[in-house]
Symmetry: C2
Subunit: 326 residues, 2 copies
């Protein structure tokens, strides 16, 4: 395993970073990202990722093989000449690793230094979709397999080939974000998933359960030559061919800026793959588990764009900003 520590100018033993819970010291340099929708969070003295103001995301390497596997993946992927250029954009940029004080106060710990995917956004709406009907890989321990299998069967993974792991959907400047609790998200059904994917691109409040999502922004977020669907199809074409990696338990992060769309600007819609702690070698076989789940997700997005919708109102033909947002 190649542990590649980049030279550290801002963080190091001569200039230690304060513990996270000593906020007054940490504040100007590293902070807890507030846009995180799934995974471990660095709140209340727990171990989690941090960000800085320059657009970098610091993900602590876990002690067990998850840490070393994720680092091995980033090292391999970022230097692999068989990865087409246009595919790199679907992954966070990898800047190496850095020794940092961990957010849980446990001392210095190597962190992956990655691109902060939302640093250019003000109020991004985000959904984290864990892809694959199976989140375990054949070589894993029996205990791990059983735990994953249980969760795959309890969530929508087995049925849909993916599950929503977390989300935050922007409403407006007054209501802020809808960010359901983890427990609630884990209990999402097929119908919940459909609803959330509609709410993600709707002008009406995501919190209001009485109004059916109007999908006003679907054409500009999901549709178009640079929209989410086009990006997913590009990614799919790569997965039909690539036999280098199998992305077990990996997520597609989908994000865009609602306020930007409302102002008639670009949505900034994009997808990124994240979480590579369980990537294994493809050994000449395509990742049929990821590909199947990705195709299922693509079908859900397509249906919102093309399917008949008896619920939609004429709201979309009007100025949505005037109607719903002030």
């Amino acid at each position: 395993m190649l542990l590649h520590f980049l030279p550290s100018s801002r963080f190091g033993q001569t200039h230690p970073v304060a513990l996270l819970n000593e906020f007054f010291v940490l504040a100007p340099m590293l902070k807890v990202p507030d846009h995180q929708v799934a995974g471990h969070t660095a709140c209340h003295g727990k171990l989690g990722p941090l960000i800085d103001d320059s657009g970098r995301f610091y993900k602590p390497l876990q002690d067990d093989e998850r840490g070393s596997k994720e680092l091995a993946f980033y090292s391999s992927f970022s230097s692999n000449t068989r990865i087409p250029d246009h595919i790199h954009r679907f992954f966070p940029v990898f800047y190496g690793t850095q020794l940092l004080e961990a957010s849980d106060g446990s001392g210095l710990r190597p962190h992956l230094v990655l691109q902060d995917l939302v640093s250019d956004h003000l109020n991004p709406s985000i959904i984290d979709i864990k892809i694959g009907s199976r989140t375990w890989y054949p070589q894993a321990s029996e205990d791990y397999v059983q735990r994953c299998m249980k969760k795959d069967r309890e969530t929508t993974s087995l049925l849909l080939g993916f599950r929503i792991s977390g989300l935050r959907i922007y409403g407006n400047s007054e209501s802020g974000f809808w960010k359901p609790e983890k427990k609630h998200v884990q209990e999402f059904t097929l119908e919940d998933v459909k609803l959330v994917l509609r709410k993600f691109v709707s002008s009406n409040s995501p919190i209001d359960s009485n109004s059916f999502p109007d999908c006003c922004f679907a054409p500009s977020v999901y549709g178009g030559s640079a929209g989410i669907l086009a990006q997913l199809l590009e990614l799919k074409a790569w997965f039909e061919d690539q036999t280098i990696y199998h992305f077990s338990s990996c997520s597609v992060l989908m994000l865009y800026e609602k306020e930007s769309v409302m102002k008639g600007k670009s949505s900034g819609a994009e997808i990124k793959l994240i979480d590579f702690a369980h990537v294994v070698e493809g050994r000449g076989v395509i990742d049929h588990n990821f590909l199947g789940g990705l195709c299922s997700f693509i079908k859900f997005v397509s249906e919102i764009l093309t399917g008949p919708d008896e619920h939609s109102t004429e709201a979309c033909s009007q100025d949505s900003e005037e109607m719903h947002f002030n």
Copy 2:
């Protein structure tokens, strides 16, 4: 469950069909198919399918829910107007059901009356590929799930997204067919699968383990606008869209006539889906398990057509019939 019994002119209580083991009576009417490569066979007084001389295949309905589920599928599929016309050709024609003396001597039993897929062929080479990394479906009993899962992990299903269930590959008029035993087929590894898919389209003997398969017939069997790959891609496009059925534990049967290719005629290469005893409703979700496995299989076939091959000889540029067949 609709049990639809077609009127029987040739078989019925007034004109009973003899038991299979009483060959002298049965011979002119029904016989055991010799082209079967997987599944239950009607030999030695066991229950299995029969064929007649008019191109029909009689598959006994099993007593448990498998029988009723397969009949329900054929009834639904054959009358479903949402199935595009060009997709019907990938399925055996369904002629209804018929009461027949079962091949195991257990008396009258309803049989599915289907198209005999190989009745037009003299010496077809056939591979039965069970598609999907998971051969069980979420609603199945825990016992069934565990049994399937064990087999999926022991065979190539989990790794490749498919497994070869059976095969027979024609060599020449002297050597006849290579038809490895079921136990041997179940133990196929990734490398075995690659080798078999090459042997299937090669001019050299499938039995000879010393000569590497030359893939002489790959362009005319796997390739071309009407070849296996083109058909698989057509099927794939449907699976990316259809949310009506989930084809658990279903097989793609791939067949062609080697002697025909050698004579410069059409290979007659085609794929057919078979075995629908575990088809369940799609409930608005694509069959991501089947699709993923199908894409993996497509990749294997594509690689034989396009991949570099250090083993190939110049045999293919010569008249293969003169070289290997007399």
